[in-house]
Subunit: 395 residues, 2 copies
Amino acid sequence: MSVNQREIGRRTLFAEIRRHGRIPRINLAELTGISRATVTTITAELLREGLIEEVMSESSDKGRGRPKVDLKVRGAARLIAGGKISNRSVSLVLLDFEGTQLAGHEVELDQTAHESGELAALLAGHVGELAEKIDRSLADVAGFGLGIAGIVDAPRGFVHWSPSLTARNVEFGKILTATLGIPVFLDNDANLVAMAEKSFGLGQGHSDFIVVTIESGVGMGVVINDEIYRGTRGCGAEFGHTKVQLEGALCRCGQRGCLEAYVADYALLREAMSASGGQDSRQVEELLAAAKGGDAVAGSIVERAGRMFAMGLANLVNIFDPELIILAGEQMQASHLYAEEVIEVMRKLIVQVDKAPPEVVVHKWGNQMWARGAAAYALDNVSELALQEMKDHVA
Amino acid sequence: MSVNQREIGRRTLFAEIRRHGRIPRINLAELTGISRATVTTITAELLREGLIEEVMSESSDKGRGRPKVDLKVRGAARLIAGGKISNRSVSLVLLDFEGTQLAGHEVELDQTAHESGELAALLAGHVGELAEKIDRSLADVAGFGLGIAGIVDAPRGFVHWSPSLTARNVEFGKILTATLGIPVFLDNDANLVAMAEKSFGLGQGHSDFIVVTIESGVGMGVVINDEIYRGTRGCGAEFGHTKVQLEGALCRCGQRGCLEAYVADYALLREAMSASGGQDSRQVEELLAAAKGGDAVAGSIVERAGRMFAMGLANLVNIFDPELIILAGEQMQASHLYAEEVIEVMRKLIVQVDKAPPEVVVHKWGNQMWARGAAAYALDNVSELALQEMKDHVA
């Protein structure tokens, strides 16, 4: 067996064991097409490394014959952290190697945009504190996944732009890895929500779906063939800056006609201000309440945002034809965009065929879930690293 | 070795041999992680079935030692046909199992939309005639790939709608298979152009790219991770019907604001007619020539089409972040959409990062190339069938 064959086999078998939770050794050969002898060799290595463990099979307590054992990932093998940076807070979680949550906390931030070194130091402190909650330290964490808003080239850990950083074009992944002293895996936050939906949310069992997130901006995560689709330059899935109107409303990004320039909080407030000749000092919540209460101007503003959002969603459906769209977010104030009327407009704007339109579900959840998505991303990467380290041992 | 293991191994090895053109047996084990013994067993089976053959290695004519042999796909193993239905013509090609073109021809059609049974009979006749050109018959063809405009659910061979068929919701794949008496593989024509670009065009060596086609409508084929992306209901990649203007111009599909309603031939002529109070009887070619010649009204019509096309392309870039966009088509009259000015507008409308925008290339080619894409699709499917038949032999 060549080094390459052994490496492919190890990766295949470990992924299969993780996917099944627990599985008899004998089933692995059948499922993967790897010979029984090789399965035995490789699982022995994985057991020796402590990455997997044997447990009594649930089907073997029949009182006769040799007790059967299943293989499963060993939870204690690695400690994984995940985090999500929001506008004024950081959410953090710790998972074991099986993905079970061990601890979590929420930290307030005193500003939105940070100098990258300061933010890295701050995160190092908070991840360390979280580890101490379960009597471990930052150095015990095998990997930290972090979600951040903006345009992120995930494989390089490079941030083209983020509202959480004061500078553009930052090698933030490298800065984090150097500051925390552990491997850090950085991605766009909406991608990690998609990861979370896929791993333990409404995307379980779906191979192709889209997650749209609404916070202060509009984000998107796309899952194709069970994988996050990231584009080739780290700036795909920029749903918020697709154009819904040629030479339309000015967007914060400096361009015109972006979806965000019609549906984001600031866009609604700008409209209200403009309608009142600069006299409107309402917050978004008040504006939405007024629209619901029958205020004609507020109604017109909110309604247009909904129509533009529906048009953007319809374009995604026409392009991706997903089986499922998950509208995910924690802000209750985006409910006007998640409204059934908006989804109905979307259904009218998609290509009409004699087949049901994609299912649209609304999933409201807290920041801890975003952080768990980030941890799931780290878990994948740490697993890969663990298998590579093994390769070095053996070679 | 279980049936499943053998099947996976067979598929993996055959794909690897096809990908390399010619490859020494010994390299297959290293590349695939399959043991040398299994490689020997499976390649012996493939040789016995006549799907592959041994040829003298190009590196072995050094006059000493045992002559080395390479494995390659056996061209004579299967005969493959491909076709593309255009507005008023059908293009057809015949390939051997290696993908080498053996014959091709072009047939005029006397109308655009056909009854499905009649069109199937007509195609059966023309594929048969083509086979006779090389002294074979329709029954010798192992599979026929066909590209058709419209909304096609490829895995089911189901046509939701096509300008080439008089009826909607047609099981056209089944009708074709029954009429021709050979397996037929149907897909949207733009997907097959993407397949052609991937297999032997400008997409070679690219894993992620987008092909946009302009004929009477606007089509799109998306390649993600080396595969055509088809969506889940057979109606993805409907670029022509993404909305570029909420409640905008009326489209032939019955909806408003579709990209096609601004850039298709009929859209330009409608504008010219409307500007002249119904007096303008120019054809598209004349309108484009007038715009080039400085005619202000024609210029304004053509320019808006270009801006809308640029906006649609920019949205694709913001969503997919591809490394390459291929603008493919045979119609010279779409050159105003392929113009450098239009691409420049697109570059301004995409999310701005400190990285080069995706490469945009224009690839003008004839219908024979579309037909070759269809044949490439059939080649993939026939290979899969051939391997499945082997499984039945052995089991």
